[in-house]
C-alpha cells in the first residue's frame, strides 16, 4: 500500500493523489467488459448455410438469437418485454430471460452454459444454445465440436482431412488427404495463397497447421464467410505455387517451389490438374491462381454497410448488413461454380468500410463488373428488387466532355466511361431476376448511388426489399430465395458478357 501511495504521489503529486486514486477506482469499476465483434459463426444445413456474426462477451462466444433462427428458417413472431423475449418459430415457442441460463422451448426447460445477454438491445445466446435448444426446435441432429465456429444441422456429412508436408528438391509439397472429393479454386492475397475447396462443408481436425520449413510456414483452414478454404502462408516471398488435385479429387498436392527458368513439374497421374497461371507475389493484392490460359475476369461483390453501420432494419430485427452479407456469399458461390469469374469481395466480415476503401478494393482488380448489394425500404411490396446504374444528379454541362478522355479522369466522374455497359448490365440482371417466381422487379433505372460513382468498371446496385418495419421481410433471409437471386445474377452476368465485349 505504501509503495502504491508513493507511486501515486510520484505520478500526480501529493495533493492530487486522492483524485487520481478516485479516477483509477472509477476506471476499474466502469472498465468495458464487452469485447468487439471479431468473426462469424457458420451454420451448415443440408441445402443451405447461414453466416452469423459472433459476439464475444467476457471471453464467451455469443450469437444473436434472431439471426440464428432466421438463418434456419423464419421467425413467425416476437414478443419482447423488459427482461423476456418470446419467439414463435414454426411449431416451437422459445422463451428467453435476460441474464438467465434457463431457456424454455415449448414446455421443455433447458439450461445453457452461460446466461442470455442483451448488451446493445440485441438478444444474444451462448453457443451452447445451439446444441441444447436447436434439436428441440428443428427436430434435427446437431453436430458441434466445442471451440469451433461452425455447426452442422440435419443430414450434413462434413468432409475432413489430414495434412502432411514433404521436402522436394527445390521446395516443399503439402499433401492434403480429404475424406471426400473436393474441387479447388485458387487465389492469392496479402502474400498468402487461398485454396477454395468447393461448396461441401468441411470439418477440420485442426484449424491451423504450423511447419518448421523454409518454404511453407503455416496452413490454416477457414470458413468464416461460408466458403471452406485452406490458406497457405509461405515462409519467404517470391515462391511459386502449384496446386493439383489427384485421386479423383480426394488428394490435394500443393507444391511450393523456388522460381525456376524451366517449366514447373507436372504431377503424374493428376486427375484434375489445376495449376497456377502466374506465380503469385506475396504482398501483392489478390493475384489469382487460375487454370492454364488467360486469367479469369474479376467480378467484385460489394456487401453494403457493415460493422456499426447496420443499414435498414426489418420488423423482426433483421439487419441489412447481415442480409446482404449472406446474399453476397451465395452469389459468390454461384459465380465460382460457373467457373468463368474470379470473385473479389469488398467487405469480408462485419466491418464498416468507407466508400473509398470499397472502390479501391474493386479498382485494383480491373473488374469486369461491380455489383453492390443493398436491402432497403421498397414500400409494401415484397419480395422486390430494383437494379440501378449510376445516374448523375445533374446532366453534363456545356463545359463537361460527355466522353472523357482516357487521361486524368476525376474519380468522381469515372462512372461515365462505363455508363452504357452499366445500363446493359442492369438490363441483363433485371431480365434474369424477373424470372424468379413471385418477385416484383422494377425496370432498371438510374440513381445517384454513391457506391457506384468511383468504380472503374460497369457497376450496378441491386437493392432487395422491402426491409422495413412496415413489411414482412422474412423472405429476404430465406435460403431458397437468396439462392434464386444468386443463380439469376450469375445467369444475368453470363447473358450480359455474351452480348457485351469486356473492357
Amino acid at each position: 500500500m505504501n509503495s502504491l501511495t508513493r507511486l501515486l504521489r510520484r505520478l500526480a503529486g501529493p495533493s492530487r493523489a486522492l483524485p487520481v486514486t478516485f479516477l483509477l477506482v472509477m476506471g476499474v469499476l466502469f472498465w468495458p467488459t464487452r469485447a468487439l465483434r471479431s468473426d462469424n459463426f457458420v451454420i451448415y444445413m443440408p441445402a443451405a448455410r447461414a453466416i452469423i456474426p459472433l459476439e464475444t462477451i467476457d471471453q464467451v462466444k455469443y450469437l444473436p438469437v434472431i439471426s440464428v433462427l432466421n438463418g434456419l428458417g423464419k421467425v413467425d413472431a416476437l414478443q419482447e418485454k423488459r427482461d423476456t423475449l418470446k419467439i414463435w418459430f414454426g411449431e416451437a415457442v422459445i422463451e428467453l430471460r435476460l441474464d438467465d441460463k434457463q431457456v424454455q422451448v415449448n414446455k421443455t426447460r433447458l439450461t445453457l452454459a452461460q446466461p442470455v445477454r442483451r448488451p446493445t438491445g440485441q438478444w444474444l445466446v451462448p453457443v451452447s444454445f445451439l446444441t441444447a435448444a436447436l434439436p428441440h426446435i428443428t427436430h434435427e441432429t446437431v453436430e458441434y465440436q466445442v471451440g469451433t465456429n461452425r455447426i452442422f444441422i440435419g443430414d450434413v456429412k462434413p468432409t475432413s482431412f489430414t495434412v502432411r508436408l514433404d521436402q522436394l528438391a527445390t521446395g516443399a509439397r503439402v499433401t492434403v488427404q480429404f475424406t471426400d472429393k473436393v474441387t479447388i479454386h485458387t487465389a492469392a492475397s496479402n502474400g498468402k495463397w487461398y485454396l477454395y475447396l468447393g461448396p461441401r462443408p468441411i470439418e477440420p481436425l485442426e484449424q491451423t497447421f504450423r511447419f518448421q520449413d523454409p518454404y511453407v510456414s503455416e496452413m490454416q483452414f477457414d470458413d468464416q464467410d461460408g466458403l471452406p478454404k485452406l490458406i497457405l502462408t509461405p515462409t519467404v516471398s517470391g515462391l511459386n505455387f502449384y496446386p493439383t488435385l489427384a485421386e479423383g479429387g480426394k488428394v490435394l498436392l500443393a507444391d511450393v517451389l523456388k522460381p525456376s527458368p524451366v517449366a514447373p513439374p507436372q504431377p503424374a497421374a493428376a486427375g484434375e490438374p489445376v495449376t497456377a497461371g502466374a506465380p503469385p507475389v506475396p504482398g501483392a493484392e489478390a493475384v489469382s491462381a487460375l487454370p492454364a490460359g488467360p486469367p479469369l475476369p474479376a467480378v467484385v461483390l460489394d456487401a453494403a454497410h457493415g460493422g456499426s453501420d447496420s443499414g435498414a432494419r426489418g420488423r423482426d430485427g433483421v439487419l441489412e448488413k447481415d442480409v446482404v452479407a449472406q446474399l453476397v456469399a451465395r452469389v459468390r458461390l454461384a459465380l465460382l461454380a460457373a467457373g468463368k469469374y474470379r470473385v473479389v469481395l469488398t467487405r469480408v466480415g462485419d466491418v464498416n468500410l468507407a466508400f473509398e476503401q470499397r472502390e479501391s478494393a474493386a479498382n485494383l482488380h480491373y473488374p469486369r463488373a461491380f455489383l453492390s448489394f443493398h436491402a432497403g425500404d421498397l414500400g409494401t411490396t415484397t419480395p422486390r428488387v430494383v437494379v440501378s446504374s449510376y445516374q448523375a444528379s445533374r446532366p453534363p454541362g456545356p463545359g463537361d466532355n460527355p466522353e472523357p478522355t482516357p487521361f486524368l479522369i476525376p474519380w468522381t466522374r469515372v462512372y461515365r466511361t462505363h455508363l452504357n455497359q452499366s445500363r446493359q448490365l442492369a438490363q441483363a440482371l433485371q431480365q434474369k431476376l424477373a424470372e424468379i417466381p413471385g418477385m416484383a422487379v422494377d425496370q432498371p433505372g438510374g440513381a445517384p448511388a454513391r457506391a457506384l460513382r468511383s468504380v472503374d468498371a460497369p457497376a450496378v446496385a441491386i437493392e432487395i426489399g422491402s426491409l422495413t418495419p412496415d413489411a414482412d421481410s422474412g423472405v429476404l433471409t430465406d435460403a431458397d430465395f437468396q439462392q434464386q437471386i444468386a443463380s439469376a445474377i450469375a445467369a444475368g452476368l453470363q447473358a450480359w458478357q455474351g452480348g457485351a465485349p469486356g473492357p
Partner: protein, 200 residues
C-alpha cells in the same frame, strides 16, 4: 480511544451520512438541459413556421411531388398555398408542405421531424438547403428511398419557384458524401422530370 476522539468520529460519521443523503437528493434533481445546438434548431424551425405565417398573398395552386414506392417514382399533388413574398420564404413553404405530407395518401418525402437549419438562394439559381442530422436519422433507408426523397424536394421546388434551377443539400452546414449512406450529395441536383409518374 479518548472521549474526544469518539466525539470527533461521531461528528465525522454524521457529516458523511448527511453528505450521502444530500448527494442522493441532488442526483434525483439532475435533468438534462437541451443543448444550445438543439435550441438553434428549434429556433430555425420556428422561423420556418414564421414563413408560413408571413404568407399574405392570395391562395394559388402549388405542385408538389410525393414518393410512390409502388412505382418507384414521384406522384404529383396539387395544393392551395398562400405564397409568401420572397423566394426564400416560398422555398420554406414548399418544404413545410412536403413535411406535412400528402393529402392524397402518397408516401411522405420528408419526415415530420425535419429541421431545416437554413435555406439560401444564390443568384445563379442554386438553393443551398441545410438539413439537420436528425432529419437523416428519420429517413426511410435505401437507394430508392433516398432518391425519391431528394427528387421530391428538387422537383417540387423547381416546379413552384421559377428562380430555383438546382439544389445543393448540406447537412449541419457541411458538404457531405451521402444523404444517409446512399444518395450521392457531392454535386448539385437539377430537376429530373423523368422521376415523375406521367398523369394517367
Amino acid at each position: 480511544m479518548t472521549s474526544r476522539a469518539k466525539v470527533l468520529m461521531l461528528i465525522l460519521l454524521m457529516v458523511l451520512a448527511g453528505s450521502a443523503l444530500y448527494l442522493h437528493v441532488l442526483a434525483r434533481r439532475i435533468t438534462f438541459q437541451p443543448s444550445v445546438q438543439h435550441g438553434e434548431e428549434v429556433a430555425r424551425t420556428r422561423l420556418n413556421e414564421a414563413a408560413l405565417q408571413s404568407s399574405t398573398g392570395p391562395q394559388q395552386l402549388a405542385t408538389l411531388y410525393f414518393p410512390s414506392y409502388e412505382q418507384g417514382l414521384l406522384r404529383e399533388e396539387k395544393r392551395q398555398i398562400a405564397w409568401a413574398e420572397t423566394d426564400t420564404d416560398r422555398i420554406r413553404q414548399v418544404l413545410l408542405a412536403l413535411m406535412e405530407g400528402s393529402h392524397q395518401g402518397y408516401s411522405r418525402a420528408l419526415p415530420p421531424s425535419t429541421a431545416i437549419r437554413g435555406v439560401f438562394l444564390a443568384p445563379d439559381g442554386t438553393v443551398y438547403l441545410d438539413l439537420s442530422t436528425q432529419t437523416l436519422a428519420d429517413l426511410r433507408p435505401g437507394i430508392l428511398s433516398e432518391c425519391l426523397v431528394v427528387y421530391s424536394v428538387v422537383n417540387s421546388l423547381a416546379a413552384n419557384i421559377p428562380a430555383v434551377k438546382k439544389v445543393k443539400i448540406l447537412v449541419e452546414g457541411q458538404e457531405v458524401d451521402t444523404l444517409d449512406g446512399h444518395a450521392d450529395l457531392s454535386d448539385v441536383f437539377v430537376p429530373d422530370p423523368a422521376r415523375i409518374l406521367p398523369a394517367s
